[in-house]
Structures are given as structure tokens and as C-alpha cells.
Assembly symmetry: C2
Amino acid sequence: MSLPHAILTALLEKPSSGLELTRRFDRSIGYFWSATHQQIYRELGKLEKAGLIRALDRDVPTRGQKKEYEVLPSGREELERWVGVREDPRDPRDPLLLRLRATGVVGVGGDMVDELRRHRALHQERLAEYREFERRDAARGNGTERDRVHRLVLQGGIDLELFWVTWLDRALADLEDTG
Amino acid sequence: MSLPHAILTALLEKPSSGLELTRRFDRSIGYFWSATHQQIYRELGKLEKAGLIRALDRDVPTRGQKKEYEVLPSGREELERWVGVREDPRDPRDPLLLRLRATGVVGVGGDMVDELRRHRALHQERLAEYREFERRDAARGNGTERDRVHRLVLQGGIDLELFWVTWLDRALADLEDTG
DNA sequence: GAAAACATGTAAAAAGTTACATGATTTT
DNA sequence: AAAATCATGTAACTTTTTACATGTTTTC
């Protein structure tokens, strides 16, 4: 049950429309949580119905017209409750390592090496992007708790991509060696 | 669509019953893919129906009685096809970083620091466990491709836990500093 | 013979993915 | 006026989670 809380957090940081939220999920929030626009619109509908958020301005919302939402006090309370909840780390699920392991029983082919290289490039790209965000952030202030938390989370994104690039390098070195 | 392929891989490595598979998913396969017994039994049923695996021995399967499965040729072919598929890295989804970010807008309390410490301990535990597996593996042979792939995947599990412990240490240092 | 451990399942709900539909606004 | 982009949504499906149900074998 994290999506509604991700949306509440994003809306508290800045009231937004569904599409704007989708874009923010592709950027900063996306370091650790992703969502499609379909998920977001559905969830916005639920949150509005539950009285946790409300649409601004629009009395007569028509299709195709921008609709901005803001968080209501009950929404903020719900988020405050949720941050105090204990939840264990989630089980990892990564198809790439599964595929690699499967090659151990059905045989490889150079295909898997290509695929690992491709993934390495993708992670490298994302890493570069995050480092660019970091560079930009360094210019801005870092006084508030919010800024520090943002920085920590971005650092998490960077470290995670670094993990991937490093592990993929090792895997490629190993497989190219004798593969 | 990875669960059926995870099961096919596990069954090729060694024919097993549903409960045995569940245990193996909690151990080695669990480095990067998890599944509950409910998921596994349902999927075994589907795979059997699709003719990719078959139950051994049992002609009259009754509830509560062990049922072992093995992979049929068509199952192996399906797995061979699947390892060649290109699939982009999956979007990360981690509620902990989401909760941390939420504290940036609703305020922290020492609660989050406690929660980060708790997660650090859990990751540290798992890391120790994986290193124990690594130690044991080192004794065994490493000649076959299968052994090498297993070792790479285990290394991935270790590196991922190391990422968490390192990042959590950094986060704790930062938050305790001024928190 | 009671309890614990082993073993297989069903059902319902929640979350996520994929495909499709449609209207409004801006640019060329 | 056509095309591109902005914007919101529906529907069907798949996957995952949670709660429950039940039978068998081993151990004390």
C-alpha cells in the first residue's frame, strides 16, 4: 500500500495534476518508486473519494482538461500515520539474475553476455543522469530537513546504480573469460 | 512473467515438490526472486496443465501427500526461449525510501531513525548468511558453467546487501548528526 | 493419542501492467 | 486545418498478497 502515500507525499511537496505527477514519478520519485499514469489517475480518484485530497478550482471537470489536486488535513494525517509504520525490507525480484541463473541449466550462448552489456549501458546512463541531478542540487541550499532527505534518497539511487554497474562488470569479466 | 521460469529452472536443477520449491525459493533463488507457497502451487498446476512439467509417481494424488514434479522437453524449450528474451531493468520499488522521503514533508521524529537501524540489522543478518553460503561454496568445485553462474548470482545478492548496509550507515550518520 | 511438522491447496482482495479511448490546446 | 502534444480516463488482465482450509506423517 505505498502508491497512495507516494502520491500524498508528492502532492504535499507541490499540488499537481495527474500528468504532472506522472512526470515527477519518472524523475525524482522514480529513484525508488514508479507508477504509470493509469495507476496514478485511478489512485487520485480513490484518494479524492476517500476525502484525503481535493481537486482545485474545477467545478465541472471535463475530459482532457487539467485538474490539480491538493492534500486535505486528513490526507496529511494518514501520511503521518504511515511514516510510523514498521515494514520489513521487501523481497528482491529481478528477472535478469533469474535469466542468468537459468542459463546455468539450459546453456548460455553469447546472448546473455550481450544482454548483460545492454543492461550495463542502461544503468550507466541512469547513473550519469542521477549524478547530474546531484550536481544541480549541490548548488541549492541544504539547510532544511527536506533538502537533506532528498539528498539522501538521491544518494540511494546513485548507490543502487553503482551496485549494478559494478556487479555487471564483474559478471561480464567472468563470463567473457571462459564463455 | 518470471515465476513460471523460475520454477522451471529450479525443477531442472532438481525435481521437487511444491514445499521443497518453496524452501529453495527462501534460500538460493530468494537472492533475487521470492514466491510464497500459494503462488508456487498455483503455478505448478498451470505448468502441469500446459504440459511443461509432470508429476512423478502419483496416479491418485490426494491432499496432504507429497507430489514431485519434473520438467518435460517442452518445458525446457520454453525456458531456452525465455533466456534469449530482451527485457529492460525493472523499475525499483522500495517503500523504505518512500517513507524516508515522506518524513521530509511531514516531519521525522526519531521513529524513522529507529526504523533505519532496524533495517540495517536485517540487511546485516542476511549479508552474514550469504557470506556463509559463499564460504561453503568455495569448498565445492567451480568447474562447470552452472557453478560459476551460481557464484555470480550469489555475489549479486551479497553486493546488494552491502549496498543497503552502506547506504543505511550513511543515512543514519546524516540523520543522527542533526536529527 | 496429542502435538508438531509436513504437505497441498482454495478464495478473495490488492497492486501492477497493457491496451485502448477520447477530448483540449498548441504549434506548424 | 492538420499534426503534435497535453491531459484524463476505462477495461481487461496478470501478478502478488493475505487469510483460510484440510489432510498426512512423525515424534513425544
